[in-house]
């Protein structure tokens, strides 16, 4: 856009201003959405561990959309079962999230779900779809309880919440 003082500003000049500069803002894909990973570690949790010692509570600082929940264990008893149950208050949709699977020696990664609202069958209601959107609304209290039938120590249960969030204004 090259203008000489005194020359008329024509529509093409304004087009440049709008389509080029504002387009830079429109293409600001860093703004939405962002992602985040929250990692939780529970060492030496075994069958019979007092619930308060295998419960994690946290409050969400901003609206979040859960992408997936990754659960992996280290050095558990062979053929044990480990379950991670996540619930929240704040009137969130399609709760709770429960991930469970067979764990054992070595590192076991439980199967993960991508919460993208994919239906199992066309006629399914979203509410009954295992991959239905999960949201944490800002200020929700999220409670995560881990249960295992493993009795082996030392051991590790590692839970990763992967979520999408939007930049906050405040």
């Amino acid at each position: 856009m090259t203008l000489a003082n005194g020359s008329p500003v024509i529509t093409g000049d304004i087009d440049f201003l709008v389509t080029v500069s504002l387009a830079l803002l429109q293409n600001d894909n860093r703004a939405f959405p962002g992602m985040c990973e929250e990692h939780f570690y529970l060492q030496d949790v075994v069958a019979g561990t007092t619930p308060t010692l295998r419960t994690i509570v946290f409050v969400t600082p901003v609206d979040l959309i859960v992408e997936t929940v990754a659960v992996e264990t280290g050095d558990h008893t062979a053929a044990s079962t480990t379950t991670v149950a996540i619930t929240g208050d704040g009137a969130v949709t399609y709760w709770p999230v429960t991930e469970t699977g067979t764990t054992g020696a070595g590192i076991t990664k439980l199967a993960r779900r991508l919460f993208d609202n994919t239906k199992t069958a066309t006629g399914d209601a979203f509410a009954t779809t295992s991959k239905a959107f999960r949201t944490f609304t800002k200020g929700s209290t999220i409670t995560m309880v881990v249960t295992t039938t493993s009795v082996a120590t030392p051991s590790l249960i590692h839970v990763v919440l992967c979520w999408r969030e939007f930049y906050a204004r405040e």
Binding site: V20, E37, Y41, L42, V59, V160, A168
Partner: protein
Amino acid sequence: MKVLTEQPVRFATGELLPPEDLNRVSIYAQDVVADVGSRRWAKAPMLLPYVETVGTPYTQATAAEVRTYRYRCPVISVIERGFLNANMTSSVAPATWAITRTTGGTTPTGATVPWLTTRGAQLLTSAGVPSVSSDGLVSALTDTVSNINVDRVLLEADTEYQILLAGSTFSASRADVTMHVATDRWGMAAAPAFAPALFAGGSAPNATTVAANSAALQTEALKFSANAALTPIFFVRHGLLAATSANVRTFTIPRMANTRGRGTIVRIYLWAVMAGAAAAGAVTATLRDSGGATLNTITATVTGLTFQSADSGVISRSLTGSVSAATTTDDYTILLANSSATNAVKVYGIAWVSWI
């Protein structure tokens, strides 16, 4: 937040524009910059487990460094809120948490002293019966002690802070401190702002001013592509020997498909607390790709030391995978290791991620 309702001026090619129409375009662009610019905060909770190993409570006799978590962020960050969820099986006097600068021991702006405490904390029994504690708090294993601090604490860039659990007599079988950490895209400096020169009604054509406005808008707009706020990935291992099974000191970092989210690990801080003056060796955190190949190794040499920290410096490791995070094959991992003969009582770190 201003709701943008007006559209830019619609006109036909060849039309000459009056000053008022030029102003409307400029003001619209100004509002867009302000609107997008105000979306600046990335927020994440970061949970610090003060008692990680079940059955090994923290008391006042626990070494101070073990009762401490250190924090560092490469950019200015804000702790917006702090939450305590604990189980205090014995407490004659309140247990407290305080935030101070490692160097100098001063309290950062906005932090109360103490920052969190069991004094006046809420006790929630397993039956859901709440009560409020006074000095001294004993809770059964089935109970939860909670406390909240909503004061904003401003933390300086690349400055180390300590969050110390202290008290005269206490025993905590678990104590989780959750911080709401916020970082902004422009390091707390002013967000991009477009302030166009406006025309008065009836003013003469002034292409120079229009050109200057356009250049200024482009300058501000370009700032948006340059910055992304950071979120933390926290990792911790209580008890780390050379012989500790790799299966309990390897931590997965799921990666996202590029259609879902793109992140880059830009910095990793590592801290190692040893059981005593360590024998020769080092504590390391190794970032590995999905094939197990080493990407970065952060080394804290602990020879003769009870405590050591390490900093990766500026790094750039993409967390963008070819498949979604629901697929495990693309995971990165962090592997902790201790080559000394001395137990690392606690090894922890923070990996800072820039997301787009």
